[in-house]
């Protein structure tokens, strides 16, 4: 009776082990069906107990049989989960003990067991220790795996966080890119607008300087026209005189020759002054027209002289009290060079206008004995280049601003009097347009000299 009751204790132990195993291997998740079946593991124990009681069979090995059965049954989930390392370790730990228990049970009451009782006990002890050791190893493996799993989860979480952040970053980048693209587009538009404005400004500057010229041009055309009219009038008179002479019975061949000579000379003069007027009109048209950028063979002496007169008379027409001595040193050996004469003309005009402005300003100071003088000098250089110097004895340029005079929109003139583009454009025309140089030498209160060098 007492012996059979041991099986009930084994049932309790079995339930305890099942509970432990379920938790250890997380059976409800991994093997839900088997897990449910394991819940019924107490039934065979109870049946064994009731059955043995019913038939009156008593054995001190009943609990061992039951335990063996329990262990074999429990080996099943371990086998199924052998890919899980703690499960495999447990299985390896369990197998020797189960085998040994089975062998012991089969050989119970045989002579062999009794003979080697001590050896069997020792062996059983070893297999038991083996099993428990495995249990501990399995536990530590499980803990290790758990740790790894947690780490993986952490990593996964971090990865997901990074992915989220990356997505957010990409969204931001896309947003910024869109803004930047828009800004770039806006800038491009602004640039186009600026370029258009620049072209308009250059044209405006051209027209402004043309405005300065108008009066000068009128004067310059008036003079040659005056000669054309008068020389043709006087020629008509000469012809009348010649006709009278021819009708005269006492013809004076000497006088006739003189009259004819004068007539011829007059016709040449009419032609000369007609050309002069035409050249001025042509120059004016060229000046107002957009530059073709075409280079033509140009005599800088002629060009400088023409624009010097235009600039001078232009200023004179605006301010009748203005006067200046014009000195020209045109080197007759100066050959023609290939330049965009319209552009270089604008540069010269600008330099002359500035020079006149400077001498006028100094004259206003009322220094006794001051003679406003503008000097133009041309000179061929030994290397074939051509130099044009425009010097004035005006107010000079203060040291503080001399570095700025070639900058666009820089002007010392009162608002409305200068566009501030003249020298900047001149600089561009000489340096970029012709590969030459435009230098300035100045002394405040004494005068200024601009030196143009143009390559042949």
């Amino acid at each position: 009776m007492k012996l059979n009751a041991d099986v009930l204790l084994s049932v309790l132990i079995a339930l305890f082990i099942v509970r432990g195993l379920r938790k250890f291997l997380d059976l409800p998740t991994r093997l839900p069906h088997l897990n449910r079946l394991l819940g019924w593991l107490w039934i065979p124990g109870l049946l064994l107990f009731i059955g043995s009681r019913a038939i009156g069979w008593e054995s001190d090995q009943l609990d061992e049989v039951y335990m063996l059965f329990v262990l074999v049954v429990l080996a099943l989930p371990l086998f199924l989960l052998r890919d899980y390392r703690p499960a495999r370790t447990l299985l390896i730990g369990l197998v020797p003990y189960v085998l040994f228990s089975a062998v012991e049970l089969l050989l119970a009451d045989t002579q062999l067991v009794q003979d080697y009782d001590e050896a069997f006990d020792t062996s059983k002890g070893f297999s038991f220790i083996w099993m428990f050791t495995s249990l501990f190893i399995a536990r530590s493996q499980k803990r290790h795996l758990e740790k790894e799993r947690l780490e993986r989860e952490e990593e996964e979480k971090a990865r997901q966080l990074m992915a989220t952040q990356k997505a957010e970053l990409e969204r931001l980048v896309a947003e910024r890119t869109a803004i930047l693209t828009q800004q770039a587009e806006e800038l491009r538009e602004a640039l186009t607008e600026l370029k258009t404005t620049q072209t308009q400004l250059i044209q405006a500057e051209k027209m402004a300087s043309l405005g300065e010229l108008t009066a000068g041009i009128a004067h310059e055309i008036q003079n040659p026209l005056n000669f054309v009219t008068n020389f043709s009038d006087v020629s008509a008179e000469l012809i009348t005189e010649l006709e009278e002479e021819q009708r005269n019975p006492n013809r004076d061949p000497e006088l006739e020759a003189e009259l004819l000579g004068d007539l011829k000379q007059n016709l040449l003069k009419i032609n000369h002054h007609g050309q002069r007027a035409a050249s001025i009109v042509r120059g004016m048209l060229e000046h107002s027209r957009a530059s073709t950028g075409e280079r033509q063979s140009t005599n800088l002496n002629t060009l400088a002289d023409e624009y010097l007169r235009l600039a001078y008379h232009g200023l004179r027409a605006k301010d009748k009290t203005f006067n200046a001595t014009l000195t020209t040193h045109f080197d007759p050996n100066l050959g023609s060079i290939e330049v965009v004469s319209q552009d270089v003309g604008r540069v010269l005009l600008n330099l002359f206008t500035n020079a006149f402005y400077a001498v006028q300003k100094r004259k206003e100071l009322g220094q006794p004995g001051y003679v406003p003088t503008v000097t133009v000098t041309t000179k061929p250089l030994p290397d074939g280049d051509v130099e044009v110097r425009v010097r004035d004895n005006g107010t000079g340029i203060p040291r503080a601003v001399v570095d700025k005079i070639f900058q666009p929109f820089f002007t010392t003139k009162p608002t409305g009097e200068g566009t501030g583009l003249g020298l900047s454009l001149s600089y561009d025309i000489i340096t970029k347009g012709h590969g030459g140089t435009l230098l300035v030498e100045t002394q405040e209160g004494q005068g200024t000299e601009f030196i143009i060098t143009l390559p042949a």
Binding site: L225, Q265, A317, N323, A324, T325, L326
Partner: protein, 132 residues
């Protein structure tokens, strides 16, 4: 009658010599030419009291015609002799301001370019007859 013509245009000489060829030949007028105000003053200093009339352009580089007029009037302001030559201005700018200024400075007359030589000749002849 000696007339000094002041103009920076060189061809003025040819023009005057032809326009007044008969008068020059007959010795009624004699012309001298100066190509700037400064040159004109020099000439006047060298030929004092010879020149009766000066015909001057206003718009010349260096000393302008008006400046020349002012200087002549200053130099010959105080009578007795030498008597001041008459100064006649000729200009391409026929504006009222220049005219007024010239007359105020004591210009004898004010002509605009292109010069009407017929009218000029009449004026000169009148002047010559007064002279005589």
């Amino acid at each position: 009658m000696k007339i000094l013509v002041v103009d920076d245009e060189a061809d003025v000489r040819t023009l005057f010599e032809q326009r007044f060829r008969r008068e020059i030949r007959s010795g009624l007028f004699s012309f001298s030419f100066a190509y700037s105000g400064e040159e004109a003053l020099d000439y006047l200093h060298a030929h004092a009291s010879e020149v009766v009339l000066i015909l001057s352009d206003i718009n010349m580089p260096g000393m302008s015609g008006l400046e020349l007029l002012r200087q002549i009037k200053q130099e010959y302001a105080a009578p007795p002799p030498p008597p001041s030559p008459q100064v006649m201005m000729i200009t391409a700018y026929g504006d009222a301001e220049s005219r007024e200024q010239a007359l105020q400075l004591g210009a004898f007359d004010f002509l605009t370019k292109p010069v009407d030589f017929a009218a000029l000749k009449d004026k000169l002849l009148t002047l010559a007859s007064h002279e005589n």
